[in-house]
Symmetry: D2
Subunit: 313 residues, 4 copies
Amino acid sequence: MTLAIGVDIAGTKIAAGVVDEAGLILASAYRPTDPDRPEAIEAAVADTVAELRRQYDVGVVGVAACGFVSPDRSTLLFAPNVAWRHHPLGARLADRIGLPVVVENDANAAAWAEYRFGHGQGVDDLVVLTLGTGLGGAVITGGRLVRGSFGAAAELGHIKIVPSGHHCGCGHEGCWEAYCSGTALAKAAQNRAVADPAGSEAMAGLAAGQPIAGEHVTGAARQGDPLALWLLARFGEFLGLGIATLAAVTDPGRVVVGGGIAAAAGDFILPTARQSYLAHLSGRGFRGELDIVTAALGNEAGLVGAADSARSA
Amino acid sequence: MTLAIGVDIAGTKIAAGVVDEAGLILASAYRPTDPDRPEAIEAAVADTVAELRRQYDVGVVGVAACGFVSPDRSTLLFAPNVAWRHHPLGARLADRIGLPVVVENDANAAAWAEYRFGHGQGVDDLVVLTLGTGLGGAVITGGRLVRGSFGAAAELGHIKIVPSGHHCGCGHEGCWEAYCSGTALAKAAQNRAVADPAGSEAMAGLAAGQPIAGEHVTGAARQGDPLALWLLARFGEFLGLGIATLAAVTDPGRVVVGGGIAAAAGDFILPTARQSYLAHLSGRGFRGELDIVTAALGNEAGLVGAADSARSA
Amino acid sequence: MTLAIGVDIAGTKIAAGVVDEAGLILASAYRPTDPDRPEAIEAAVADTVAELRRQYDVGVVGVAACGFVSPDRSTLLFAPNVAWRHHPLGARLADRIGLPVVVENDANAAAWAEYRFGHGQGVDDLVVLTLGTGLGGAVITGGRLVRGSFGAAAELGHIKIVPSGHHCGCGHEGCWEAYCSGTALAKAAQNRAVADPAGSEAMAGLAAGQPIAGEHVTGAARQGDPLALWLLARFGEFLGLGIATLAAVTDPGRVVVGGGIAAAAGDFILPTARQSYLAHLSGRGFRGELDIVTAALGNEAGLVGAADSARSA
Amino acid sequence: MTLAIGVDIAGTKIAAGVVDEAGLILASAYRPTDPDRPEAIEAAVADTVAELRRQYDVGVVGVAACGFVSPDRSTLLFAPNVAWRHHPLGARLADRIGLPVVVENDANAAAWAEYRFGHGQGVDDLVVLTLGTGLGGAVITGGRLVRGSFGAAAELGHIKIVPSGHHCGCGHEGCWEAYCSGTALAKAAQNRAVADPAGSEAMAGLAAGQPIAGEHVTGAARQGDPLALWLLARFGEFLGLGIATLAAVTDPGRVVVGGGIAAAAGDFILPTARQSYLAHLSGRGFRGELDIVTAALGNEAGLVGAADSARSA
C-alpha cells in the first residue's frame, strides 16, 4: 500500500497527515505559521513532513495552498495571502524534503478528496462548491481536476450572474460570490435591517447589538422568522441560478456543497437551490438532472486530497 | 498511417470523408437526408461509408450528430431534429458497417478538429464557440473534450447572463444565446428600428422591406452606420461577459470563435469581446489572459473532428 | 346642474354619453368607426353629440382618444391607431358641434373618472394602472392630471425596470409592460411551456392546442396549478417593483388597478404586488404606505372622465 | 412689492435671507446649528428672522428642511438628521416669530427657485436633480411642486433601476442613487482600482494614497484617462436611463441637474446622459424630447425657493 503525506497550508497554520489509499489519516502534525514569513512556511512544511516520516514510509508529498497553481502543479503563480508570485514551491520543498512534491490549489485538493472518498464518489463529472466567507470550488470532468491554462480554473465565485449587480471583493460587479457567500448573506441581512427595521427584529435580537452575521440569519430562520427564511431562500435561488450555468458548461452529475454556510444552513438552502436549478435548466426533460448534496468531509479534506492527488500524479 | 472516416449528419444532408492523421480529407461522399426518416439516415450513413471504403482502408468511423450523446459515445440520448431518444446509433451503425463506430456531438466534433488541426492547436484548455443562428460550442480541458454526466456539457448558449432577461428559444430568460447569436442580432436590430426609425435607416435600406437580418447589420456597419456599429459592439460586450464566466469555470487559454456571424463580423465583434472579457475578468494582473481568435476550419470541421476523435477513442 | 357630454373614441366604435355632476350617465349613443377613415370619425362624434343634445342641454363636450394630447387639451399630437399627427381635433369638433370641446388622453380620462367617482375618490395623489393587453395608466398629483410637457406623461408601461430585459413592443428592453401586461403574461406562460412541458400541463390543457393565453394562466391558477400561481406571483412582484418606483417619483396615496387582467386575476396579483411594493419601498417606517385596489368603473370610465374633465377645464 | 424671508436649515448651519419677487437676496443672516439640539435650531431660526426683520418688512417666512414634509407644508413628518418626527415645525416657528411660516422640503425649495428664477424658468413640467453625495431631486408638474400623499414625493434617488443591483444606503438594491451619486462614483472607482490596478493608476495617483473620490475621477478624466472617462460615461448612461423612466411618468420638458457632481463633471456626464435618455426613450419620433441642463443657482437656492414658495402659498 502506498502512503502519501498531504500538507494543507492555511492562513495561520499548517496541517499535515499521512494518508492511505482509502483516504484515512494515519498520523497528523500541525504547526502555526505566519503568512508574512514565507520562508518560515517552507521550513515548517518540511518539519511536519520530517516528523511524519519518522513513523511512516511515504513516497510522495502533496501540498495544498491557496492561490493559482501552474498546470504542471509545481509553481504557485499567485497566492492571495502570502507574497508568492511565480514561486517554485514544489521544487523548493522537494529540495528540502527529498521526496517528489506536488502542489495543488487548496479548493481543488479538498474537492479531490470529496470525489475520491466523500459524497462525490463515482461521479466523474463533479462540481464542489465551498460556501464560506466567499464562494470557492473545484470542477472535475471525466474524473480529472480542471486546472485551466493559467491555474485559475474553478474561480466559481466569480461567475457573473447579475449585470451591474452587487460589488464583489474582486472589484467586479454581479459575481456569484456577491450573492452566495457568508459575506453576502450578512450584508444582505444588514441591508434588510435598514430597509425594514420592524421585519428584522428577530435577526437583530440574535445579533445583540453587533452587525447581523450569517449565524444570526440561520438562527432566526430556525425560529421561523419570515425575513431570515426569505434571505436563505433568496440565497438558494441565486445558488441554483449559478448551478444552472455550470450545468450548461460542464454538465456535472452532482454538485457537492461544503463550507460553513452549507453546514449551518444547508437544509434551508440546498432544496431551494435545487428547485431554482431546475427552474433555470435549459433542455429539461431531454437531459439528466444533477443532484445537490452536502459535503462529507470536513477540515481535513485539503490535506487528504493533496496527498491522494499527489499519489496519482 | 491510420485512416478514419468521419460522417457529419446535418439537417438535410450527410457529409462523409476519409481523414488522415494530419486532418486532411482524402476523399468525400455526400447524401441528402430527410430528418423525418431516421431509418433512411442510418442507411445513407452506411452507404457513404461503403463508398469511401472502396477507395481507402479505414479502421474506425466517427459520426457527428446534433444532440446529447451518452458519455460512452455510443447512444444519442436526445436529438432536437430527428426522433432519436436514447437511440443506440453507434451500435446500429456498427452492425450495418462492420467497423467500430463512435458517436460525437457535432459541436464537440468540430471543436475537436479546431483543437487538433486548426486555431486551437496546442491549447489544451480551450473553448470553441459557434456563432450561427444560435450560440453553440464545446469545451476542452486538459486536452480532452468535456462531455458531461448526461452528454449535455457545453450547452454554452444557455449560460445565464441576465436575470429576467431576453426570452430564449429554450423557454428560459437571459441565456447567452439570447444576446449573442444571429437570431439575437436580428431581433435587436428589428427592435431598434421600432425604437429609433430615423437612426436605423441604413440597416432598413439594406433590408429593402424585409425584416432586418444579421447581414444587414454587418453591411451597415461596414458603411460606418453608428447604430449598426453600436449593435455589434453590444454583441461583443455580451460575448466578452460570457467569456469571463467561462474563464471563471474552466480557465481556457484561448477561445476560438466560428460560425456565420464570426465569419461575417468577427473583425467588429471579437476585439470588443476581448475588451469586455478583460473588463470583467476577476483576478486580472494575477493570472494569465486568454486570447480570442476566429476558427480556422469551415464546414468540414465536424467530419474531420468526428474521424479524429473516433481514432483516439 | 351642469351636464357634459363625454365621447370615447375607441378602436372600432365611439361611445358617447350625457354625464351629470355625480358621474352618472343619463343617456348614451354609440357608433361603429373605422380607424382608417379619420374624417368619418369626426362626423360620427358630431353625430352622437347631436343625438344626445336632442334630449339634454349640455355646456361642453369632452373627447377621450388614444394618443399624445397637447397640454392645452386641444390637439392630438400623435395617435397610434388613427393617422392623426398634430391634428387640431378639438377645434375641428368644436366647429362641427358648436360647443367647447376638450380632448383628453383616454387613459387620463378613465383615471379621472376613477378619481372623481370611483375607487380613487379623495386621494389627490393617485396612480391608475390599466392592465390589459399592455400596461397603461395615468398620474394625478394634487388633484390634477399630469399631462406632461409633450402630452406624453404616464406612459407607465415604459418605465424601465430591467436593464437588457425583455423586448417590448416599443422597441426597447426591460419596460414594465414587458413584465406586467396580458401580452407579457401569455408570453411568459408560453415560454414556461417550452422550458418545463411537464409542469405546464394544466395551462396547456386549458389552452387546448392554442397558444396559452392569460385566461388559461388564470384558469389554471384557480385550480391550484403551481406554475400558474408562480407566474401570477411573479407578475405581482414586478408590478410591486414598478409601484415602488412610482412611489419614489410622485408618492401616490393609492394605486387603482383596472383592466382585464385586474378583473380576471386581481385577487392573485394585487396582494403580491403590495408585498413586493413594501419590500422595495425606500424609507419604510418613516413614511406612509399606499394601498393597491381594483378599479370601480368599467368600460364607461373613459367617457365619464372625459365629460367631467371637460366640465372642470 | 412683497418680501419674504427664506430659511434653509442645513446640517450644521442655518442660512436665512430676505428675498424679493425677482428672487434676489436683499439681506442675509447665518447661524451655526447642532442637529442634536432641535430646540436650539428653532431658536436660531427665530433669531435670524428677527435680525432680518429689523431691516425689512416681510409678510411670510419659508423654511427649507431636509425630510418628509406634510402635504399642507406645516409638519416635518420625518427628518433624517434631526430628531423631528411628526413635528409641527411650522406652527412652533410661527408662534416664535409672529408671521405665517411655510415648511418645504429642502430639495423642493431649491427646485422651486430653479423653476422660478433659474434654468427651469417657463418649463411647467420640470425635474430638478441634485447629484451630490446622494441623488435627490424635485418634480414640478403643471407649475406646481409634487409633494405626494405622504410628503415623500421626488425621492428620485430611490427609483429602482437594476433588479438585485448595487446595495443602496436605504437598505434596498438597485436604486438610482447607487449608480448616480458622488458616493456611487467613488465606490465604482475604488472597485475598478481593485479589478484593474494598472488601468486605474491615473486616478490612484491623484488620490495619493487616500481612497479614490469623485474629484479624482473627474481630475483624471480631464487628463484624458480612459478609465475615468469610462466611469463618467457609465454614470451618464445610468443617469439617462433613469431620466427615461421619469419621462414615462411625468414627461418633463427639461431636467435641471445641480449639485457638486454636476458642477464638477457636468460637461462629461450630461451629454452622455442625454444620449442615453434618447436611446431609452419610448415613442421617440412621436413625442417631444426634453433637454438636460445644469442648474443656475448655487447654495442659496434653498432659501430663495423657500421664500418664494411661501409667498405663493
